[in-house]
Amino acid sequence: MKISYNWLQSYIQEPLPSFAQLEEKIIFHMFEVEEVEHVGADIVFDIKTLPDRNHDCLSHQGVAKEIAGLLGCTFKDPTEFYKIPESSPTKLVIDMHPDTARRYMSRIVRTVTVAPSPTWVQDHLKSIGQRSINNIVDATNIVMYDCGQPCHAFDLDKIVGNITIRHAVAGEAMTTLDNKDVVLTESDIVVADDEGVLALAGVKGGKKAEVDTNTKNIVVEVANFYPNFVRKTRSRVGIFTDSAKRFENDLSPELCAFAMRELSGLFVEYGFTDFEDIVDIYPHKQEKREVVFSTGFINKKLGTNISDDEVETILKNYGYVYEKVSPKSLLEKSSDLLALLGQTFSNSDFVYILTVPELRFDIAIPEDMVDEIGRVYGYDKVVPVVPQLDFVPQKNPVYESMKNARDILLAREYKEVMTYGFADKGEVRVLNSASNKTALRANLTDGVKRAYELNKGNVALLGLNEIKIFEIGTVFTKEKEEIHICFNLKKEIKEMSLEEFNTMFSSEESILQVFGSPRFARPDHSEYLSSFEKIEGVKKFKMWSVYPFIVRDIAFWADEKSYEAFIAVGDSFASKYCVVPMKMFDSFSKEDKTSYAFRFIFQSFEKTLTDAEVEVWWQELLADIAHISGITVR
């Protein structure tokens, strides 16, 4: 969420630290900061609130409370500054069907003037990248970005009959404020009048009772809709709004009253005077919650030595309401408290009984307070210790057998590949894939066969004599998943279960029979692959060229001295024109002379090379070789 530095400052008594210092505080004690942006005279943080803090921190007040607690500053509670309007009795009737919402607060405001917003409202919205629409709509948005509670305003004169919060009728249609036609299902919750749908509850307002420049009387909605309904509806209709985002993250219904007070106060500031009483449908009030923890408990989880004083300073800075008590004295008074204390705390000297703030759904168990105290105290103060554990690890048979199979093949110059787990054909399929391949592979053969063909075309580039590859991976059939191994023997692709492989090749004889002996002495080493290891002396990946390569071979007779001269010439030529170092692929001796055959591979990273281009370079090499005495090109 975008959070304005100036907006935050308006809630904090003391001057905030510089934005850079503040950013660091936020990152190491609260949330990730994705971006910091200068907007006019303001600085805006794009903060990625943690999922468990979306209940209370998708708002400037929420983040300001956090920062005040973190810095030990004073949070300026705005409640007392909101002007409370005088109001008259109302005839507004709200019919909230059971289990459609947790709370629905509403109030009529008459004889309003729809106009552009005051400058400060426009500036606030602009700083966080929001468009100003008109004073009424802007007021509802300001309240949402300020305290986190989505609000909505309807044109009262466009509403026929009563307001009902109900399930939609399948097939029922509505047009949203942004002119999108939506057909509803029974799982959608709507706000409706006697004629039709006014709003898709918590997601988007409707065209029917839109506030426009002619609007004279309004009815405002400050409600608490269920997260799961909102999430289902918004993902089905594909309308993702800031309102939906907040509701699906589960807001406290207690927030409604605060937001109604803030919204009404804003309207008073606008100069509106004709308010009716608030209608508040709130069947099940949110219960008061308490959590018990101790300093010892926190230290046991973190491996720290935090003192009671340090814990209490954090609690006080955050404005938590708590009691510090001795469990023994409490238990003497009432045994009911045993359940709250649990076994963990009944023997502690002192415990804290903390009243969980209404908006803090993330605090429910003592471990949540370890998080709360730990992150503020600072994880940088946790000292790293390597533990000694009284545990003897066992070898994992499947892991060992994969290693064994891999070792057998690697020793026979095989190279390992990995191919996709998804395929066109298979017995098991997935629903709703982001790709067009929806089957899980039933064999490794298809992938290994494709890999074999691909690599065969590159055999010269790779500097290999032949392609020998294998894959170890899971395949899926209707009955089970199983780890298979697949390898090629020349052109033939063999596949079997890992278990079968290890049984089949449990003896040296059986391995020898199929794969021949390991040739450790002269491995089929790939110049191409090893060439990358030489970059700056460290192994770094280098992307290959996507253009075709051209191979040229040269064979010659040479004595020892001229051979060395050739190596110098050839190496320098290859480093100038070739994609890999030159490679000797044959040599034999006859009397005092030896015949050598070398391979050069040409490839550009920019284009497809032509034979003519390579020929020009090749002639350069031949000319250089002609200067070496003792070499006879064959």
Binding site: F28, F31, E32, L50, P51, R53, N228, R231, S235, K300, K301, G303, T304, E367, D368, V370, D371, G374, Y379, D380, V382, V383, P384, V385, V386, P387, L389, D390, F391, P393, V398, Y399, L410, K415, E416, V417, M418, Y420, G421, F422, V428, R429, V430, L431, S433, A434, L440, G447, V448, A451, N458, L461, I467, T474, E481, Y528, L529, K540, F541, M543
Partner: protein
Amino acid sequence: MHPLTQITNEIVEIFADLGFQVVLGPELESEEYNFDRLNFPKDHPARDMQDTFFIKDRPGYVLRTHTSNVQTRFMEALVQSGGKPPFAIIAPGKVFRNEATDATHEMQFHQVEGLMIGEQVNMSHLKGVLLDFFKKFLGPDSEIRLRPSFFPFVEPGVEVDVRVGDRWIEVLGAGMVHPHVLEAAGIDSKKYQGFAFGMGADRFLVMKYGVTDIRLSYQGDLRFNQF
């Protein structure tokens, strides 16, 4: 050897030297072991079809989204066979996310997850184990730092950054195992506690070897086997 196998083995061996036991588990998994027992609420966004592969004609089954399923299975089996903590396990394996692919995202990737549970295993031990790991894996000058984070199966949860040269890179998620996760496996969370962490092997290929596109891992192309 495939670079991913190589990097996974490297990671696993360092943890094995620290006394962790290798454990494996199924790739096609029930929602119970992949989500429920890991304290994911029923309506958690990770359970959306947009993020997770659900299996056709097999309701309640998914392609695992992490190797944490191995943790839940290991703990359950341990308790059922009469065992109890302490223990330390490391779970390498392939995992799946239903998302459009690009140079840094792939529908399948490789994870290594660790879990250590005992009577006194705490966050300083998590920090000690991870620091020790990175010193061996990336070099003796490695430093780590922890930032607050959130995952349903831990509390507190942290994000771990490691310093590479003069840059800090976010490399893994970790935390103290949530008591609900221990209780779901039949382990007394009042008596035992510990930490868990999870890292992406594919991401380390990018970080350690400068691989430019993680999708290259799964092409079967030997030009990728550069290390």
